[in-house]
Subunit: 253 residues, 2 copies
């Protein structure tokens, strides 16, 4: 099994080191990841400047790795279509430092990398440690290994990815694994308004998350109860249920 590993925290982040190490014994690992942190880049791709891929060797012997001056989606595209000799069997993105839950997955570079893989026909998973304070990636890494084996064995549909969040707690406090849907996450007071030393106004994105549980099975709800959440994701944004209604609208112009 050929495993392409990427992330959005940058190629030197501890999360990607743990992830690559965790799956080294179940497949051949190749790493293509951003040279620096590219969080909250969403599904951005680089069209207006050339991309460069620089070989790096801090993943140890036998692991080919490239650092790329682009986004996570760029890394997956470039890895699959230019750097790797053959298509990977699976793409793993992470382990992200911090959660990727609910609506926030739209902003996530980690998840976008996995979506890019699915668009290119490669089953994939995005893996996040759902805590900004936690520094121990070992439980998440162990789960990532089991997950990768499952994706391969059960032949996850090619146009699908799994978005996985692992609670930032010790192994014995994890209650189990739940298959979830994405919740909706909204924020209160999203911008902090300030003045610079020259009296000019500027804004920092901030705000407190105001969770909305659409139902008990959503990821936001389950992670708060210390379950590992696994949400199947697709990339067809069509809201099919509305097509019939829209056909009644009057568009003459």
């Amino acid at each position: 099994m050929l495993i392409l590993v990427t992330n959005d925290d940058g190629i030197e982040a501890p999360g990607i080191m743990s992830l690559a190490a965790a799956v080294e014994d179940i497949g051949h690992v190749v790493v293509v990841a951003p040279e620096r942190e590219r969080s909250a880049v969403g599904h951005a791709i680089t069209m207006h400047k050339p991309l460069r891929a620089t070989p790096v060797n801090h993943f140890g012997k036998g692991v080919k790795a490239w650092s790329v001056n682009g986004t996570p989606s760029d890394c997956v595209k470039l890895g699959i279509e230019a750097l790797l000799d053959s298509n990977p069997d699976i793409v793993l993105s992470g382990i992200n430092r911090g959660p990727n839950l609910g609506t926030d997955v739209l902003y996530s570079g980690t998840v976008s990398a996995a979506i890019e893989a699915a668009i290119l026909g490669i089953p994939s998973a995005a893996i996040s440690l759902a805590s900004y304070d936690a520094t121990d990636y070992s439980v998440a890494a162990r789960f990532a290994r089991i997950l990768a084996k499952n994706i391969h064995k059960n032949k996850l549909q090619k146009d699908t990815l799994l978005n996985v969040n692992i609670p930032g707690v010790s192994y014995d406090r994890i209650k189990g694994v739940k298959i979830t849907c994405l919740g909706t996450r909204r924020y209160r007071n999203s911008f902090d308004e300030r003045k610079d030393p020259r009296g000019q106004q500027y804004y920092w994105l901030s705000g407190e998350a105001v969770d909305e549980y659409h139902n008990d099975r959503c990821d936001i709800n389950m992670i708060s109860q210390n379950y590992i959440t696994v949400t199947p994701i697709h990339f067809d944004l069509t809201k099919f249920s509305l097509i019939e209604e829209l056909q009644k609208w009057e568009f003459k112009f």
Copy 2:
């Protein structure tokens, strides 16, 4: 009706000028748009640097407008949560120069701005002129006006947006309006490999679109027949149909 107008081609692009002008008589127009082109940024948001909003006045009398050093999603967030005195009734994003069809909407700043509005509970639409050569936005602008009136009158669901593409042809060649789903768009030979004057390799994203029509009703198919396409979009990426199957997987670790 308070209408927030934004785009991803930048606040001075002809498409946003046409759009703002087209809806001036059906509501009160406010513009918040990126200071420069931010195409292919996907749903990126700016977390690591402060945002600044600079008033501009090239939209004419009575139209408040701000240029923002951020992405289209930033503009919508900042507009709604910091700059506008009250919530807009509708957000219009465009008119984009070039198509936003099928899977490509994931990369689109134009569409992401409309998604951001829907996340914030404001009905919205992304409007694109489906040609890179066309310079006449008048047909698209006329349609945008009808569309805005429809969204308001028919009370489009708050968590939904409409992704609209207008063929880059004259009015008399447009065959009609179709309610569509998103097609899948893949690319062949996505990277152009080159050497710089110092012999270092680099890559340009390129490649020819290889359209895949999932069914006749998809946007990619309909636009090629000179129909205006209107696709309802939601932002819940959960693939509900897979939840049951995943519950059978063995995750013990």
